[in-house]
Subunit: 401 residues, 2 copies
């Protein structure tokens, strides 16, 4: 019996409610002149009060020293082995725009991009064209059939699109056409094994067709593809935890991730206040809510320490709407750290608090990286948080006689 | 090489002595008005003094969030993987009454129970009949032979008994007859696979025979069976650690668990003082002692905070008899938490201290849940404690060149 089988065996359905608030990119690094991280700089009286009555600690999303992408970061928080459950970027992107991938589909993430007269990439994002313009161009490319394979093209946002190949005998072991740099030509899509040769050939034919079709639409005069991937098959949160789970997230990828593990994805607005309103409206219908806030990560990726501080203060200010619902268990954490100083995801462990009436006090009085080092949860793999949330919601039976 | 193989490779037999004192259900939760757990409320100057010279920490018996039964809780303390080593309830119960299970035996845990004239269960414990009465009735059922299978019936305590099926071609993949509720009829024992059909048939014939035999012995007019299981086969403590190990425990299940891992089970009395006397009498004959105290768990299960505090103070008061023997290593911990507020086992990590002359000081001055958060052992899986005890007893060679 492995640990997932154990949890399945002892999980029980109850009415108690768990809310998992994921502040994307929560963890940070100190601002050199103050020695305080973004979270330590922000005035967060509500999070601090919550931490004082909760049990706190730090989580490693994947493993010590590993900087996670969004997918492993979230899968770990949902209790899955983040190393064993890789989801391709293309599949994620498709799921994130509510596209229903079918078994056998191969999805790739795409960019509209600019090439010069020699075919060299000059802008990987085609001047970040508008979503409306993207939508017009995507329609021109959509639903071409190549050798019996249907190629479905969907707009994501700005320059981003997703391309789904649907037909017999496709495989996702193919390389990217996107070289992820400018100044070079796009790559030919290559098959990484025999079974993927058909897919590579069709992808190259589609890309040639896209180049011809878009020739006169500078700056969006080509398409780059990467992250070819099939539909991921994961056990659902209902299967693993007997939970009725809902996701409240405005950003497509996180909606897609939630769908991968079988959550209902609720329509919501883009602000934290909108998300709390969605939570209130649906509070009686589910017993697990994943609430995702993207803005902290965006500020970190922009290298904007002050903006990240501001995001955290705004979250704290709106927190009362969530705590007012008095969920049996409230988890506050992040899927990874995004220190403004590093302008990207990092490996630093992420603060976590679990608030419930069954928490043993740990003397932590504020919610911050340095306070959480001394928390009663100690250092945990992120994967352990779901078990702890389930336990604190009294949703796990005793294991063994 | 897995970790058990590694330990086997480096363990060496020495005369140094390890005493592992397991206070069943040790960990707790705060009493709301004081914010202090049972252990923090109890006056325990001797344990505190021990902690000041020891290294402390918290252990997760099975995994974060998992509430363990007694068997996984103890197997982990003995250094076994608690998820990989499941022991059936029937086998445990048989081992706990000193019954020598043979390979091929199938044991089930039984209750004398009451059914009404329609065959509906009205009391799963037959009014908790006396152990004497149980003994008389068990003799009436004992040693019946059905299709060449001998059915051995043994009294455990009050309404509880154990039934052992001994013969060729038996298997333990059968369901329970005990529905674990009143107001319904007992279940027919069903085979979960082809190999278990004979066992199911014989169990049902035995249960019919028991019903007839007990018809006039209301309230104990039927038998319910659950937890069918074969003799567990585990590597012994001698094989894994080169230890000569003895168990001092008064409660049957813990004696059974010790026997599963090959310990000698010493006759002893029911009080901690009795157990210390047994330890003294046998101190020269072994180099590892498992000493088990049940009372703290019982008080916790009863929801009696004050009684649990009292038990802990009494243990502390008698501790001098044990520390006076000056074992090379003294481990004090529990197999799981049993907070009085939860009236049962819980998932909360358990305080542990390891006292030896080779401990690195960690600044912990008292033995409590909150003090142990800051202990030098940090948070460990319970399974790690045996290696640490062995190391501190200088019973492990260097690993690798």
């Amino acid at each position: 019996m492995n640990s997932q089988e154990m949890i399945r065996k002892i999980a029980r359905p109850t009415d108690s409610k768990i809310v998992m608030l994921v502040i994307d990119g929560l963890g940070g690094l100190p601002f050199p002149e103050t020695g305080l991280t973004e979270l330590e700089t922000a005035r967060t009286p509500n999070l601090d009060k919550l931490a004082a009555g909760a049990i706190s600690g730090l989580i490693d999303p994947v493993a010590p020293g590993i900087t996670p992408g969004s997918a492993p970061g979230h899968l770990a928080l949902f209790g899955y082995d983040p190393v064993g459950c890789i989801i391709g970027r293309g599949a994620l992107e498709a799921l994130g725009i509510d596209f229903k991938l079918q078994p056998g589909d191969v999805a790739a993430r795409g960019n509209f991009a600019t090439v010069d007269s020699r075919g060299v990439i000059t802008d990987r994002r085609a001047g970040r064209l508008s979503t409306e313009q993207n939508s017009k161009l995507a329609k021109m490319l959509d639903r071409k059939t190549i050798e019996g394979v249907e190629v479905i093209v969907r707009t994501v946002k700005e320059h981003r699109l997703v391309v789904i190949f649907r037909g017999q005998g496709l495989a996702d072991e193919v390389g990217d056409s996107d070289p992820q740099q400018t100044g070079v030509a796009p790559l030919e899509v290559t098959a990484l094994n025999q079974a993927a040769q058909k897919t590579a050939a069709i992808a190259n034919r589609f890309l040639a067709h896209a180049g011809e079709t878009l020739a006169d639409h500078h700056p969006a005069n080509t398409v780059l593809l990467r992250g070819f991937s099939v539909k991921p098959e994961h056990a659902t949160m209902a299967e693993n935890y007997k939970l009725k789970a809902a996701a409240i997230a405005s950003y497509p990828m996180y909606r897609g991730l939630a769908r991968v593990v079988g959550m209902d994805v609720l329509p919501t607005g883009t602000s934290f206040e909108d998300e709390i309103e969605t939570l209130k409206q649906n509070y009686d219908k589910y017993n697990f809510f994943f609430v995702h806030i993207k803005a902290a990560d965006e500020a970190g990726e922009d290298g904007d320490f002050a903006a990240k501080v501001d995001v955290l203060e705004r979250i704290d200010g709106a927190l009362g709407g969530l705590t007012g619902l008095a969920p049996d268990v409230l988890v506050v954490t992040g899927d990874h750290s995004t220190p403004a100083r590093l302008r990207g995801h990092s490996w630093h462990p992420v603060p976590v608090l679990i608030s419930s009436q069954w928490c043993r006090p740990d003397g932590v009085k504020s919610f911050s990286e340095s306070a959480c080092i001394r928390g009663g949860l100690g250092k945990q793999p992120a994967k352990a948080i779901m078990s702890l949330a389930m336990a604190n919601a009294l949703k796990l039976n005793k294991f063994g006689a």
